[in-house]
């Protein structure tokens, strides 16, 4: 158990840390965070910025964070793998967060102690669990973690699979097919699979002009759908299905098949099985052969959340929106993609906002003050190409005890001008930097 200096001082004064009554700690306390992603890191930083006397320990498996947001840009060479790396140095040195590289494996919620793989024990007044997602590779017949790591990568949690996928795309034969198997709802990064398709289509225009991108989807719509389809139509020769043209501006009608195709559920897009030997995917409308297969499998809350009993039958974690405290295990809070907090999306932006709400709530709880009414916002930027972006913006607040979408000002009609798309691409790049800064630096 690691004691920071100020805590050690208190412990010496009181005789023994373990015997220190809670009241003696007054407005301070001890928080343990499992997971150093956007949720956990933002939470730790904002606690320390606002209440430096609170002791914060992050338990994180990886010494360096690899950001998932924007990681599809590795696939087409916009950025490199190393651009995804974010250091924990600022959390440690600038904010005084105790970042421990270890794996949380046990929880005693009554005694409020977390045990790690190395055998260390961490006691807490409040535990924050922010583990991201677990990919359910086995939910699709013929697919597995092993196949994902060797033959048909997912890359939805960035890392070696992202690099493998990038190399497979680069080495694909001319005229080859890149197939994305899109996930069912809910999943991390709602516009992500379709943005990935667009980015690879953009790359193919230049390096593999006879190649094809196919997205096969168990859904009939996705976030930013209209914007994305408009972008595909303008950039990649995509024909918007007749029943989806309502409310859209003048579309180009392409006589030949474009680079990108999206097969919806109604058109038989639901994936049934993957055959990594034959490199084909069985869908409801038939078999699709491909040269590179990218599967975004179904997902649920990160493993540790499931192991600690924080999930319900949905596979996600129910929480009190005022504090993000689990409704299943007291004094344990859950943040980020693991939470079911609809209409908040499973995005980094939302995780960052949830972390701030939880940080202020916990500071208030430690100080014996009432928790304030929270509000949140979210922006998802997505690219259809390097200079062609768009965004969805949400503002959320409490209505009748539930998180609700609030009205907001906006200038984002579907086709206001090319400026919108150019600006959104500029903003997206700026956001990658400023968001990382706000969460980690």
């Amino acid at each position: 158990m690691i004691s920071r200096r100020n805590f050690l001082g208190m412990a010496l004064a009181a005789g023994a840390a373990g015997l220190l009554p809670l009241s003696a700690r007054a407005a301070t306390g001890k928080v343990v965070v499992i997971g150093g992603g956007v949720g956990g890191s933002t939470f730790a930083k904002y606690i320390k910025m606002n209440a430096p006397q609170i002791e914060v320990t992050i338990i994180e498996q990886n010494p360096i964070y690899i950001r998932p947001y924007g990681s599809s840009e590795v696939l087409n060479g916009h950025i490199q793998m190393s651009d995804l790396e974010v250091s924990y140095d600022a959390l440690r040195n600038k904010y005084g967060v105790n970042v421990v590289v270890d794996k949380a494996i046990g929880l005693d919620a009554d005694k409020r102690v977390v045990t790690t793989a190395s055998g260390a024990k961490f006691d807490y007044d409040r535990l924050v669990v922010s583990p991201g997602i677990e990919l359910l590779y086995n939910r699709i017949e013929g697919y597995s973690r092993e196949i994902a790591e060797t033959k048909a990568p997912s890359g939805w949690i960035p890392g070696s699979q992202t690099a493998l996928l990038r190399d497979q795309i680069r080495n694909m034969r001319q005229g080859g097919t890149f197939l994305i198997v899109a996930p069912p709802n809910p999943y991390r990064c709602p516009p992500g699979p379709d943005e990935r398709g667009a980015l690879v289509a953009e790359w193919m225009q230049k390096y593999n002009p006879t190649g094809k991108v196919i997205i096969t989807d168990p859904k009939n719509e996705f976030v930013t759908g209209q914007d994305m389809r408009l972008g595909w139509n303008r950039l990649y020769g995509y024909n918007v299905p007749a029943d989806m043209r309502e409310g859209m501006p003048a579309l180009q009608q392409h006589s030949e098949a474009g680079i990108i195709d999206w097969i919806r559920e109604v058109d038989g897009g639901r994936p049934l099985a993957i055959d990594a030997q034959k490199m084909q995917v069985e869908t409801e409308q038939g078999f699709i052969k491909a040269d590179v297969i990218n599967v975004v499998p179904p997902m649920r809350a990160g493993k540790v959340a499931t192991a600690f009993g924080l999930t319900d039958a949905s596979g996600w974690c129910p929480v009190d929106p005022y504090t993000f405290e689990s409704t299943l295990v007291s004094k344990v809070h859950v943040l980020g993609d693991s939470v079911s907090a609809s209409p908040l999306p499973k995005s980094g932006f939302a995780a960052n906002n949830e972390a701030k709400v939880a940080a202020y709530a916990i500071i208030n709880l430690f100080a014996g003050r009432e928790v304030e009414e929270p509000s949140w916002e979210n922006t998802c930027y997505a690219l259809a190409g390097k200079d062609y972006g768009f965004m969805v913006i949400g503002v959320y607040g409490m209505r009748d005890g539930k998180i609700a979408n609030l009205p907001r000002p906006g200038f984002q009609t579907l086709d206001v001008s090319d400026t919108k798309h150019r600006l959104a691409a500029v903003y997206q790049q700026a956001w990658m930097k400023s968001f990382t800064e706000d969460s980690f630096l």
């Binding site: 206001v416 400026t419 919108k420 600006l423 500029v426």
Partner: protein
């Protein structure tokens, strides 16, 4: 009026020496600027109003030209000629002092001279922001500092920042952050869109406190 022109000339001649090496070739001369302004298409404020929304200008500068946050400048009530010149400067890359400027360049890239003129005339037709208080003007505004060869701000921008003297922009009621940013970027030379380096010269010897004070004073004017 005579003294104002004189002081401007003094400043100009000083700067000709001081900044000989940093003046980019594309920099305006009084003549080329006058020609550009005279040959601009006549602006249509109604069309400008539409463009303000269509081109997302309103998302930072406000639907009525008043920025909803201090992060961005207000453009309501601005001199038509100044807005037009700024848009030209963003388009040419003459203004590229920071990422804010780069955002403008990305947008203005898509504007025609007619669009720019329409926007400029729309903003000029709006009432300038009113943040007025009864704060007395700092000496730098009214007297400048002859010791440091600093021209009084008021000699070009007016006592209350109304602008318009020798084509200078209105700065009254602009957010203090915006004004300070402009002064800092002129001082560092990162912003070079001033005719004959007048602002680069005027800011050269300002202290950080004075920049704060000037930003605060003009932001509080009507």
């Amino acid at each position: 009026m005579r003294t104002l022109i004189l002081s401007l000339l003094v400043v100009s001649s000083i700067t000709a020496h001081a900044t000989e090496n940093v003046v980019p070739k594309s920099e305006w001369s009084a003549k080329s600027l006058r020609q550009a302004l005279e040959s601009r298409p006549t602006g249509d404020p109604l069309r400008g109003k539409d463009l303000n929304t269509q081109h997302m200008c309103a998302s930072c500068h406000g639907k009525e030209g008043i920025a909803p946050t201090p992060n961005w400048p207000s453009v309501a009530g601005q001199l038509e000629s100044y807005t037009f010149k700024m848009l030209l400067d963003y388009q040419s890359g003459a203004r590229n002092e920071d990422n804010r400027a780069n955002i403008m360049t990305a947008v203005v890239d898509m504007l025609s001279p007619q669009d720019m003129s329409d926007l400029a005339s729309y903003y000029a037709s709006l009432a300038a922001p009113d943040m007025s208080t009864t704060m007395p003007p700092p000496a730098l505004v009214t007297k400048g500092d002859p010791q440091r060869l600093i021209t009084p701000c008021a000699s070009c921008h007016g006592l209350t920042g109304q602008g318009g003297i020798k084509g200078t922009p209105a700065i009254a009621g602009q957010s203090a952050d915006t004004l300070k940013r402009a002064l800092v970027f002129y001082q560092s030379g990162e912003r070079q869109s001033d005719l004959y380096s007048v602002m680069r010269q005027a800011t050269k010897r300002l202290t950080a406190d004075e920049i704060d004070q000037l930003g605060y004073y003009y932001s509080a004017q009507n």
